[in-house]
């Protein structure tokens, strides 16, 4: 039965579409790269607020993080692209999609980094305070670097999740590889080969990304945190 199924696959369509698929792949990587920067920014600032002494800052960051990570990213994407124009904010699809993903994955990053900060030994805070370092300086030089290292595995998973979620922005017409594949399918009407190819692209990307993350973890572990 599986052999019969494979016989109905014709990968020439993939060969013909390689240029478009290639450009779609580049777009996916671009959105991912932008998303990573945004997600880390949101995560670090949010985690700082989440663990600060100011109750309003803590409250806001907690509400933000809990709301965004408990609601579907696809709905955020639709909101950014279709709902914001109703109040006059018209964002291009690429921007709307990336922004929505930054907020969603960023909210997850806030929780990850918060756990990382709480895992930093209390003695570190004591030593930094005893030396007279200000709260901001403590956060920047002592706490965040260690929290980051502790959080690296979970942040890595979040990153991979971001890469895969870029496929969602195809729903609002932003260009990335899944959307490109769907456009081709709309014309050529056969889809299995293209989805398999797109799937293979993501698999390879995830594999490479995982490898990079694991070697980074190993390199940082040498200095023993």
């Amino acid at each position: 039965m599986p052999l019969l199924a494979a016989a109905r696959l014709d990968f020439s369509i993939v060969r013909e579409s390689l240029p478009e698929l290639g450009s779609g792949a580049l777009w996916t990587l671009e959105v991912t790269a932008t998303g990573i920067v945004g997600m880390l920014l949101v995560g670090i600032v949010g985690a700082a607020m989440r663990t600060s002494n100011s109750a309003p800052a803590r409250g806001f960051a907690t509400a933000f993080a809990e709301f965004f990570r408990n609601t579907p990213p696809l709905v955020h994407i639709f909101f950014a692209y279709f709902a914001l124009p109703v109040v006059g904010i018209k964002l291009p699809a690429f921007v709307a999609g990336t922004l929505a993903l930054v907020f969603y994955q960023g909210a997850i990053a806030i929780e990850i980094l918060r756990a990382g900060i709480e895992a930093v030994p209390k003695g570190q805070f004591e030593a930094a305070s005893a030396l007279g370092l200000s709260g901001f300086e403590q956060f920047r030089s002592i706490v965040m670097p260690q929290a980051f290292r502790i959080s690296l595995p979970a942040l890595g998973n979040n990153l991979i999740s971001l890469l895969k979620n870029t496929s969602l922005i195809s729903a609002i017409g932003a260009i990335e590889i899944t959307g490109v594949a769907n456009d081709i399918i709309a014309i050529r009407l056969t889809s299995a080969e293209l989805y398999l190819t797109v799937g293979a692209f993501y698999l390879c990307s995830v594999f490479i990304l995982s490898g990079i993350l694991r070697s980074t973890e190993a390199r940082l572990a040498r200095y023993g945190t």
Binding site: P121, G123, Q124, E126, A127, A128, S129, A130, L131, G132, L133, S134, E137, S141, I142, P145, Q146, R149, Y223, G224, T225
Partner: protein
Amino acid sequence: MAMVAMSHVRKAFGSNEVLKDISLTVDPDEVCCIIGPSGSGKSTVLRCINRLVSIDGGEVIVDGLSVTDPKVKDVDLRRRVGMVFQQFNLFPHMTALQNVTLAPRKVRGLAGAQAEETAMRLLAKVGLREKAQEYPAQLSGGQQQRVAIARALAMEPKVMLFDEATSALDPEITGEVLAVMRDLAAEHTTMIIVTHEMGFAREVGTHLVFMDGGVIVEEGAPRAIFENPQAERTKAFLSKVL
């Protein structure tokens, strides 16, 4: 003027009264050793001096500054007070040198080169000049603690606090840290040392304080107290540890 003057200090954590009524004066150049059973509040006394812990009642004057005065900033106190912890608390993601130069650069505002020069001098003083580029994970416990001492000294404090600095070290290694502390004492550094090392307290200390249950039970010259303790509790404690 006393370097550290504590009068009727009280501190409770929740319902637990850790310090009941502590009055202690430490003069410049003194090596004040605080001994006593666990839970007697010794570590809390140290932490009241640099405001790592805020007191509930009484007063602490450090080099003329009052810890209860809201106008006195944390950093003003902490620039004058250096602290060495039982668990060393070195910053694991920084080299020994970076650990020592961090506070001089960020708090005292020294330029990088100047901070490095001071740091290398201090690392040499504690016998670890060659280890400047190593990370804490690559150093033994005794070496880490010596770096921690250099790190505290880099701020040029008026008084050095030691919170059971050798308790977490293997017995063979405590010697190298005690030797550094002995040198500091010989250089007339004002030191307040919480310790279980009775031999050190007896030979290097100039002022011995025995604490139990949140109060100072007995204080005076180390030799006098070790040889002729007055209070019953002091006698009981010393007979157990000596």
